[in-house]
């Protein structure tokens, strides 16, 4: 058993390299003094400066964050309800159809979702005169519909694992179903709801395909802006923007990890103490 699994190590190394070298090189080149992406022209932070003075980027960022906040929140509310229904009401008419319809968008190519959503908006505009023009509202609606699926999946998985008896106990002690939901179910599944929200938020924040189908003139989200700029060639200010995004995401992941670890460690310690101190 002394033999090193060198094959695995090599594959792992290649995997990591494949994933991280582009990101690293992007970060390095964001400090490139030269205008050409492939020629090193000395260290400089001028692209960051130009980024911060770029009105277009600022507006796109604000729009993206607004859409992501609203769509993630609405998707979380709807997705949580759907997840609860799927996990808890094991028997209702049309359950199979409902399950299928809820989860189909997970495997549907985004282009299809995008086109069908666009068709829907066009038909709606024809029949009821709404939406008159596409933009903020239509993007948000489209994001809600497809990110809701992810929330539903996460919440459903969590609820099916949780103990039905604690809800029954609350009901037994005099709470009506709505109150049980509020007092017991939601607090116990809260971590899943929160991670569902984060998932919906990130999905909305970096979506290109569906957004490009449902946007209208003058409504450019950050991913759309980056996409359209890159079509004209990768410029160092895009590298700078991407670097900032990577840093923000990295910081978020690390903070979330620390917070979760602390909570888990505290729980484990409490439990140990409880067993030692009692009886």
């Amino acid at each position: 058993m002394k033999r090193r699994p060198w094959f695995l190590f090599t594959m792992l190394a290649f995997g990591f390299a494949f994933f991280y070298i582009p990101i690293l090189s992007m970060i390095v080149y964001s400090f490139n003094g030269s205008r050409l992406a492939t020629v090193w022209g000395g260290f400089s932070t001028k692209w960051y400066a130009s980024l911060f003075s770029n009105r277009q980027v600022g507006a796109a960022l604000v729009l993206s964050v607004q859409i992501a906040l609203i769509s993630a929140t609405v998707a979380t509310i709807l997705g949580t309800m759907a997840g609860l229904a799927l996990a808890r009401f094991t028997k209702f008419r049309g359950r199979l159809l409902f399950t299928g319809m809820v989860t189909a968008p997970l495997v549907m190519p985004e282009v299809i979702t995008g086109i069908s959503t666009l068709m829907f908006f066009i038909l709606m505009a024809d029949w009821v005169g709404w939406p008159g023009s596409r933009g903020f509202t239509t993007i948000t609606l489209a994001h809600i519909t497809f990110s809701m699926v992810f929330v539903t999946t996460v919440v459903q998985a969590r609820v099916s694992q949780s103990d039905r008896a604690i809800e029954e106990a609350a009901m037994d002690l005099g709470s009506r179903p709505w109150q049980v939901l509020w007092d017991v179910t939601l607090p116990t599944i809260f971590p899943a709801v929160l991670s569902g929200w984060l998932l919906a938020f990130t999905i909305s924040l970096d979506d290109v395909v569906i957004t490009s189908f449902t946007t209208g003139p003058g409504n450019t989200t950050l991913p759309l802006l980056i996409w359209s700029k890159v079509k004209l060639g990768v410029t160092p200010d895009i590298n700078a923007l991407a670097t900032l995004i990577v840093l923000a995401v990295g910081a978020g992941v690390i903070i979330a990890g620390i917070v979760l670890n602390r909570a888990e460690a505290r729980r484990a310690r409490d439990e140990r103490l409880a067993y030692r101190a009692n009886e």
């Binding site: 008896a165 604690i166 029954e168 106990a169 609350a170 037994d172 002690l173 005099g174 103490l273 409880a274």
Partner: protein, 364 residues
Amino acid sequence: MPDQPAPFLRIDGVSKTFGTFQAVKDVSLTIAKGEIFALLGGSGCGKTTLLRMLAGFEEPTAGRIWLDGQDMTGVPPWERPVHMMFQSYALFPHMSVAKNIGYGLKHEKLTKDQRMARVREMLDLVQLTPFADRKPHQISGGQRQRVALARALARQPKLLLLDEPLAALDKKLREHTQFELMSIQERTGVTFIVVTHDQEEAMTLADRIAVMDKGQVKQVGAPGHVYEHPDSRFVANFLGSITQFPARVSSVATDRATVEVPAFGATVETGLIPGLAAGEALTLAIRPEKLTILREKPAGLNAIPGEIKDLAYFGKDSLYRVILPSGELISVHAVNAKREDNRPDWYDKIWLGFEPASAILLRD
């Protein structure tokens, strides 16, 4: 048991079917106020299902449940004056011990002070005052069990349902908690229905027990009565140990019957059961402690010859396995009441004696 008071809980022909499977079959029971009633039976016999129908989590497929004169049909769990202590305790993991106990009280018209006083009273009752601010995962299994009990008692229910309340505790804590449960029941006066599959626990705790099998109630009565007068082979076997033999009635007199037992190679005298007739085939059962091991053939007792096949000496008592002339085995439990060196030993030829009234005749 004194004579039957007016029924407080009446279960009237209740059945429950899941799909095509009948989990509870035509159960009828009456339970008096302030009683501790135990439901006893093997795994999957429908005990939990019956409790869940009382709590309102399941609607009976047929039959009715009356509590304190009120028909419970269609009354949702949150409106029933019935609380349940769950097998898994089902404590709210995100609430402290005190919050758990006080949870049901928010549905009562109480001031904050009254509510807190009630929680303190409950904490005191189950001796958990020092743990009031802990979360359920910060206390031990036995303490969780007491929190669950206090939470179920806090609203002063008319009826408390306990589903295997002691199953998760170790043996020592379990015996201690049995007596605690009984004393709490005595102090609060709440009617308890306790589900268990441990017969000793049922006999210790309960005023009356119901033995269930495959969804049906086989027999109901005081523990002593059910133990001494089982009316079916299932109940006889389920409560304590017993040895059973096929038998045939040879003659019936006014106060006793003569029964032929092929395994004994002899006829024995027994008590009567209603409708006994000569020629009837039935089962004769006898409990190990009702048999006496004797060196000489006794007079005035039923006597069967045998040889000691196996024995276990525990000090205060001994357990013997005796082989009968027919080759069948019978268990004998003897209390070592006298200080004696010449106890029956392996391969000793002995006689087994028993009173006619000790033999149990079973038809079912």
